[in-house]
């Protein structure tokens, strides 16, 4: 499946401050292109800058092909961008910030916003900042997900740690096809 941008892509989404920009930077071959700007609304409470258009990173694989990593703008008022970004994506990485006031609301919101995309592809969930706020636990997230009929991988991650982000993306790929093998 080719995306509208002519290549494969993985979409990173989630609320402001969940670590999308950082996660893409963790695994991208090139310094990610980011469109952060000074926050001027409710996001200022959580980040001094926030992504207003998109983040972009790239992973180059054997043979010179690339997998493109797109981060959606976290602010909901930019949700018109999400469909455009998601078109042609092979899967969704949803990052949630466990220190936000209602992470389950974020979970439901983003699952709803990407409902059609998830139906056609797969989703994995990374929960950040669990070292600061242990609750809700990973089990609590699974319980929430069951109520909407989903059972994806949910990992605690530190978006700055390449291994964490890599595992999350690997779980996305294996969710698409458990038969994938790496020689």
């Amino acid at each position: 499946m080719e995306s509208t941008f002519g290549q494969y892509k993985i979409i990173f989404t989630g609320p402001v401050g969940a670590g999308k920009t950082t996660a893409i930077a963790s695994i991208s071959d090139l310094p990610p292109v980011s469109t952060d700007a000074k926050a001027s609304d409710m996001t200022r409470n959580r980040k001094s800058g926030t992504t207003v258009a998109l983040d972009y990173g790239v992973l180059t694989v054997d043979g010179g092909e690339s997998i493109h990593l797109y981060g959606t703008p976290g602010q909901e008022r930019f949700d018109f961008m999400w469909d455009i970004l998601a078109t042609g994506g092979i899967g969704l990485v949803l990052l949630l910030d466990n220190t936000r006031s209602d992470p389950f609301r974020d979970l439901r919101f983003f699952l709803g916003a990407f409902k059609e995309f998830i139906r056609k592809t797969k989703v994995v969930i990374g929960v950040t900042q669990m070292d600061l706020n242990y609750h809700p636990s990973i089990d609590d997230y699974h319980a929430q997900l069951k109520t909407v009929g989903l059972n994806p991988p949910v990992f605690e991650i530190d978006a700055r740690v390449k291994n964490d982000v890599s595992l999350l993306v690997q779980s996305l790929l294996y969710s698409i096809d458990p038969g994938l093998k790496v020689s």
Partner: protein, 408 residues
């Protein structure tokens, strides 16, 4: 901060209750709760209690946490509130639950007094947030709601240990695949977990979580202290030592009764004495309870499955383990993805993925120890188990991405 080295009642500030409820609560503390705490107002309080079901309770709690970030807070509510750093007492509040919470709060006061570095860590992170150069860092504090940082220990949140086939072999050893038709080989592929540390830890964690209190597991070796509120355990041992002890049958060493004599000094599970809680602890020895159980189940299993698991009966995986924080056996992600998609026998999993049985058995044993996996009842009808596949061209590209991610 107020001292806690005394035996008098804790001074508790109660928020979110009307006068009538507060009067009742005072009597509850004096009587059934054996005068462990006495309500006071304002600054003289050592701990706070917030009734989360009251009007505006969330705001009260946030304000209290902001005003007194070092103060232990007990919250009462009908539903689990998911409040970090607070001790939860579920309604209807019973004396035992409230007394346990008050003791826990007293221990927290003691810990804070003996570990002032917790405050320093907070200060450090606040500095990081103020530094605009670090604005992309996910360590962003919600300054509206300062938290008590019980989870600063990186050991509890460290990234997964990835074992490829070679590393796994040198770590655990190689176990030959078995013929499931050979009863002798099938028997050798099983182990009785009740004989090993694994079962004792699982039981002790269950008790600690049920009673909602810090407990110590005494199993004839190093004590293991279980902190259910923060989902942590502490043991003065490194992985190599723990791994060695995992395969030692300890049931015959100990005269144990897991049903639990609370105050019996010979009991396998005992409340943690204040002395032990106050002891200088190496923060690197704290581990996540789930990661610890997963790990000791892997080591105890050693490529086998617990007794009672039928190799020709399908098993299920209820949900993905939190693999980013666990020791990862070879092909764990593939096994999880496959079993999460469909139930099948353990032998079929190994065949479908074309991997050694010991990886599947180890993975399943660890997932089962955490209550994430189990065996389906009834006779298995061969479903022609196979992994869901996608078109070869796309599959080839996904494999390239995987290779790229794994190679780094």
């Amino acid at each position: 901060m107020t001292t806690d080295n005394r035996t008098g009642p804790l001074r508790i500030r109660v928020l979110g209750m009307d006068n009538r409820s507060l009067s009742t609560f005072k009597m509850f503390l004096q009587g059934p709760c054996q005068n462990l705490a006495v309500p006071v107002s304002g600054e003289s309080a050592e701990i706070s209690l917030v009734d989360l079901d009251g009007h505006g309770a969330s705001e009260l709690l946030a304000n209290e946490q902001e005003r007194f970030p070092d103060r232990p807070i007990i919250v009462t509510s009908l539903r689990s509130p998911g409040v970090s750093g607070a001790i939860h007492v579920a309604k209807p509040v019973k004396a035992a639950g409230m007394m346990a919470a008050l003791k826990e709060a007293r221990l927290m006061l003691s810990l804070k007094k003996s570990r002032p570095e917790i405050r320093q860590e907070e200060g450090g992170n606040l500095e990081a947030v103020k530094n605009p150069d670090k604005q992309d860092s996910p360590v962003v504090l919600d300054t509206r709601k300062p938290r008590i940082r019980r989870h600063q220990r990186r050991s509890t949140h460290q990234t997964a240990m990835l074992l490829d086939e070679r590393a796994y072999s040198s770590y655990v050893g190689v176990v030959a695949d078995i013929n499931s038709k050979d009863p002798h080989q099938v028997e050798k592929a099983h182990y009785d977990k009740k004989k090993y540390l694994q079962a004792f830890v699982e039981s002790a964690v269950k008790v600690a979580r049920t009673r909602n209190r810090i407990l110590q597991l005494n199993c004839g070796w190093k004590p293991i202290i279980i902190f259910p509120h923060s989902n942590e355990i502490w043991i003065e041992a490194d992985d190599r030592q723990i791994r060695s002890f995992c395969v030692v049958p300890i049931h015959s060493i100990l005269d144990l009764d897991l049903r639990g004599a609370n105050e019996n000094p010979r009991s396998i599970i005992s409340p943690v004495s204040p002395d032990l809680v106050h002891a200088d602890r190496d923060p690197k020895k704290f581990q996540s309870i789930d990661a610890f159980i997963w790990k000791i189940a892997l080591w105890t299993s050693n490529g086998r499955v617990p007794d009672g698991i039928q190799l020709d009966q399908p098993v299920y995986l209820d949900r993905w383990p939190n693999l980013s924080r666990f020791v990862i056996v070879p092909h764990a992600l593939r096994i999880a993805a496959l079993l999460n998609n469909q139930s099948m026998t353990l032998m079929e999993v190994a065949e479908t993925l074309e991997i050694r049985q010991q990886y599947v058995f180890s993975f399943f044993s660890a997932a089962m120890a955490l209550g994430l996996a189990g065996q389906l009842p009834g006779q298995h009808q061969s479903a022609g188990a196979c992994a869901p596949r996608i078109e070869p061209q796309r599959s080839g590209f996904l494999q390239k991405i995987l290779h790229r991610l794994k190679v780094g």
